[in-house]
């Protein structure tokens, strides 16, 4: 578990380091996700060495964003002023996204 955590945080740190030095407009953790995938593919890192930590983190992923959800209370009035346009835009966009994504696979799938 300790080794697995070291790998996960190591790749997170590497991602942050690269965005810090090269000032690329992508978050360090997203870069870390990409890099750990590549490292696993190239067999630089073994799956069994990272899996204990990654499984636990994914299992509780939803718990970790609760504080941001609670933070919405600070902006409640802002949202309340625009709830109609926000709902229309977000629902319409979600339905279109669902359909476009699905129809591509539906038509081309083998």
């Amino acid at each position: 578990m300790l080794k697995a955590l070291a790998y996960i945080f190591g790749f997170l740190l590497l991602g942050e380091l690269i965005t810090y030095f090269f000032k690329i407009p992508i978050a360090g953790n997203i870069l870390g996700m990409f890099l750990i995938f590549i490292a696993l593919r190239l067999k630089i890192v073994k799956l069994k060495d990272v899996k204990p930590a990654s499984d636990k983190l994914i299992k509780y992923l939803v718990l970790f964003f609760i504080p941001y959800g609670v933070g919405l209370m600070v902006y409640f009035e802002v949202i309340a002023d625009y709830w109609m346009p926000i709902s229309i835009a977000v629902i319409a966009s979600t339905v279109i996204t669902l359909y476009i994504s699905a129809i591509i696979i539906e038509k081309l799938e083998r």
Binding site: L5, I8, F11, L12, P25, I26, A27, N29, I30, G32, M33, F34, I36, F37, L40, R41, L47, K51, A53, S54, L57, I58, Y60, L61, V62, L63, F64, F65, I66, P67, Y68, G69, V70, G71, L72, Y75, V78, I79, Y82, P85, I86, I88, A89, V90, A92, S93, T94, V95, I96, T97, L98, S101, A102, I103, I104, I105, E106, L108, E109, R110
Partner: protein
């Protein structure tokens, strides 16, 4: 009493028990709007309002919880490696679907919000509304929106996709289960993917992989698309 609630342990404790309680309620009444995260958030907000506790005080502890979003995103890369064999057969079609679906998710919401004359900071906060919350939060931090608004709407989008996604897609004539799975992951991230697993295991795996890939695509295109329109 005010100082007591400023102790980080308060924010950590209430987050954990609210989430555990939300999961118990979901187990008892299997109803989609009883999403554990939604229940936990509503419970904590009510508690803070009733006892007149500032969000900043709660967040002294909350920060310790949300810190783990960073490593969790890295963990998604491991998940992707583990499961990507499943999409190999349809890899090109899958990636094409995520690319086009992901870009339309960002593009359409920006255009609709601008047509409805919503202020720029809301557009910036909602551009990444289709991707998993930790990635959406990071994107919003870069684009200058408000991460808390992003988190709230992203969770709502997930619940919408989870509750109505398969129904809407079937009404629109989609029959393929993996198409439904991928679409749920692209448009409604992890909460939508949870519903994809109810369609079939493979649909769920497609959903999870689509969520990871769309996280990267959306992170790459959102800043540029926003620049184009704002």
């Amino acid at each position: 009493m005010h100082e007591f609630f400023q102790l980080p342990v308060f924010g950590v404790f209430i987050s954990i028990i609210a989430f555990a309680g939300g999961r118990e309620i979901r187990k008892k009444f299997n109803y989609v709007l009883l999403n554990p995260v939604l229940l936990a958030i509503l419970f904590i907000i009510s508690f803070l309002l009733i006892f007149k506790i500032d969000f900043e005080d709660y967040n002294r502890g909350g920060k310790f919880i949300s810190f783990f979003l960073g490593p969790s995103v890295v963990a998604l890369g491991v998940f992707f490696y583990e499961k990507y064999e499943a999409v190999k057969q349809n890899l090109k079609i899958f990636l094409f679907s995520v690319l086009i679906g992901g870009i339309s998710g960002v593009l359409t919401v920006i255009v609709f919000l601008l047509l409805l004359k919503v202020p720029d900071f809301i557009v910036e906060s909602l551009a990444a509304k289709s991707v998993t919350t930790p990635i959406a939060i990071e994107i919003t931090k870069l684009t200058g929106g408000i991460p808390e608004i992003t988190a709230g709407i992203v969770i709502a989008v997930g619940i919408f996709g989870n509750a109505f996604g398969p129904f809407i897609l079937k009404k629109l004539g989609i029959k393929s289960k993996i198409a439904i799975g991928a679409a749920l992951g692209i448009a409604a991230h992890g909460i939508g993917t949870a519903r994809a697993f109810e369609e079939s295991k493979l649909a769920g795996v497609y959903g999870g992989l689509a969520m990871c890939v769309n996280g990267i695509i959306t992170a790459l295109v959102t800043p540029y698309l926003l620049q184009l329109f704002l």
